[in-house]
């Protein structure tokens, strides 16, 4: 059950597209999530995968994840260690892919402006709060369907549970 996360922030800019998050040349190579993780943000910050730690938080500007529908762009980021992404806005398919991978994607332009690279930030999913060194920012809680998917660690486990429970 997802409740509260605290992590160190990696902050990037606007319009980060799926080709720099997970290059197209890898999309049709069959990879396990751990292998995908080695290429996370490869064409944006090649050193990212060496710097990131488990439980860290990715912060970005507007339109994060624009472009392709490739789900690996969400899965790679998650398995690289990122627990949650905060952005000024998300592309719609990336948003869905993140949720479906069990990784919360939170839209808060105010929080993004307040957060600096390397900050320690806490996110309270239940109360809908982002706690930063420069203040606390609310965000609207997810609809129940979305919370159920996150609480099952992604769409596939959610569907599995639904089928098992009849």
């Amino acid at each position: 059950m997802i409740t509260t996360f605290t992590g160190t922030v990696w902050k990037y800019g606007d319009n980060i597209d799926t080709d720099v998050i997970f290059p197209g040349k890898y999309t049709y190579q069959k990879m396990e999530p751990e292998e995908m993780a080695k290429h996370a943000l490869e064409d944006l910050d090649p050193d990212f995968v060496n710097k990131v730690n488990d439980g860290d938080i990715l912060v970005a500007g507007k339109n994060f994840g624009m472009g392709s529908s490739r789900e690996q762009a969400a899965v790679a980021v998650k398995y690289a260690g990122i627990r949650v992404i905060i952005a000024k806005s998300f592309s719609r398919i990336y948003f869905r892919n993140a949720i479906n991978a069990g990784m919360p994607a939170i839209k808060s332009p105010e929080a993004v402006d307040a957060i600096e690279n390397g900050d320690k930030v806490t996110i309270d999913m239940k109360k809908g709060k982002i706690i930063t060194p420069k203040g606390t920012f609310p965000f609207p809680p997810y609809p129940q369907t979305v919370m159920d998917i996150l609480n099952n660690d992604g769409l596939i486990n959610y569907i599995k549970a639904k089928i098992e429970n009849g």
Binding site: D43, S69, E71, N97, T145, I156
Partner: protein, 415 residues
């Protein structure tokens, strides 16, 4: 209360009265996937059901890495063929048929008033036929294979009205790059887009597909063009199923209404590394190019090849030129019209129908420092396999003209 097209369609599918903002669980009429069906079938198996729920609603078209450039792609294809066989999926198109979006439409799966989803962001294309069509993720396709349904938030609609007569040397690609330059790449995030206006009435289905294909590049969930006699003529004898068109009501609530007059625009170019980095071609004319690409799900249709042939006829290319018909049908038509010979005589390479180098997997990957001028829909850094390369986007006329001179050139020079 008056409703938009998408509100009416979602209401019909959900069997209740819904409007923008509501979350609905509905059963799509068709779910499309391509080479990523291999990964999807693995995810599907993890769900723990043995059989797909509605085999007749599944369409799989191999196009991204065709023919297989390496062993791993060949294994992908092999797994898909096995899965298709086991599951009794009849709507399977192997590696020789063409680009998924083109084949899907040629085969008559895209119909007015249908809900179609696909594990490809340019699934938006089918809205050219009056369908609601949206790109989704791989897990979501696996979920639909298993359960037949998926959750959606009913989107608000942005209406884009395009007026004006289409100037000489201007194609739908120029129009949509110009519009994306104004709206920006996130201008329609999460929104449904409805294209209307007198200019649409001058466009055939292939030309309309350029608009709905590129709707993805403004962030849209779907792009819809209200069906008219051109639509009905196109799908007559082709439609896979009965269909019932839907239209936005008079007085429906639109999130934004934007109007563009395209009578005076120049050929458009998207500069590296975003699709909304618009410039009229005059501003970038003279930029040296190493490679020209004419094809892809945006501009690999007959009219696009005709445009290229018009310019390349009797001339020689200076840039490496790759031409890829979007489907086998188009390839054959181009061959019969003599255009393939025109391309070969000009020194261009004509490749088999498929996505080609657009996503950087094969068939024209770039080297550091190189520049490609392409008719594709994306120019992101690394898109064509190299993060130190640059991609400009433009119309088939502009790219063909530039292939001849080896630098970005206004097509008017040769017409």
């Amino acid at each position: 209360m008056p409703k938009t097209f998408v509100e009416k369609l979602m209401s019909r599918k959900a069997n209740r009265n819904v409007s923008a903002g509501t979350i609905v669980s509905i059963e799509p009429d068709y779910v499309m996937s391509h080479d990523n069906a291999a990964a999807i079938s693995n995810t599907f198996k993890k769900i723990g059901v043995n059989k797909v729920k509605y085999p007749g609603r599944i369409v799989i078209i191999l196009d991204h890495e065709v023919p297989a450039p390496k062993e791993s792609s060949a294994i992908n294809h092999k797994e898909i063929r096995k899965f298709v066989e086991e599951q009794g999926i009849d709507n399977f198109y192997d590696i020789n048929q063409g680009i998924c979006h083109q084949v899907f439409i040629e085969e008559g799966f895209a119909m007015p008033g249908k809900v179609i989803v696909g594990s490809d962001s340019h699934t938006t294309t089918y809205g050219a036929l009056g369908a609601f069509s949206a790109g989704i993720g791989r897990s979501e396709v696996a979920a639909i294979w298993a359960t037949g349904e998926l959750w959606f938030q009913v989107p608000e609609t942005m209406k884009i009205i395009i007026n004006g007569t289409i100037p000489k040397h201007i194609t739908p690609k120029d129009i949509i790059l110009y519009i994306i330059g104004q709206i920006r790449s996130d201008g329609a995030d999460y929104k449904a887009v409805e294209f209307t206006g007198e200019t649409i009435g001058y466009m055939d289905i292939g030309e309309r597909m350029v608009l709905t294909n590129m709707a993805a590049e403004m962030g849209a969930k779907n792009g819809y063009i209200p069906p008219d006699h051109i639509t009905f003529d196109f799908i007559r004898g082709r439609a896979k199923d009965e269909f019932e068109p839907l239209y936005s009501d008079e007085g429906a609530n639109f999130y934004r209404v934007l109007e563009f007059n395209i009578s005076g625009i120049s050929p458009s170019v998207a500069k590296p590394h975003t699709v909304d980095n618009y410039a009229p071609i005059e501003d970038v004319a003279g930029t040296k190019i190493d490679q020209a690409l004419i094809g892809t799900c945006t501009n690999g249709r007959l009219a696009d090849l005709e445009a290229a042939a018009k310019i390349l006829k009797g001339r020689k290319v200076k840039a490496r030129t790759i031409i890829i018909p979007a489907s086998l049908t188009i390839y054959k038509q181009a061959l019969q019209k003599g255009w393939v010979e025109t391309f070969i005589d000009a020194g261009a390479m004509v490749l088999n129908p498929g996505c080609g180098p657009c996503l950087g997997a094969h068939q024209g990957v770039m080297a550091p420092g190189e520049v490609t001028f392409s008719t594709a829909n994306r120019n992101f850094k690394g898109r064509m396999g190299c993060r130190e390369a640059e991609i400009y986007l433009g119309s088939p006329l502009s790219v063909a003209a530039s292939a001849v001179t080896g630098e970005i050139t206004h097509p008017g020079r040769f017409l």
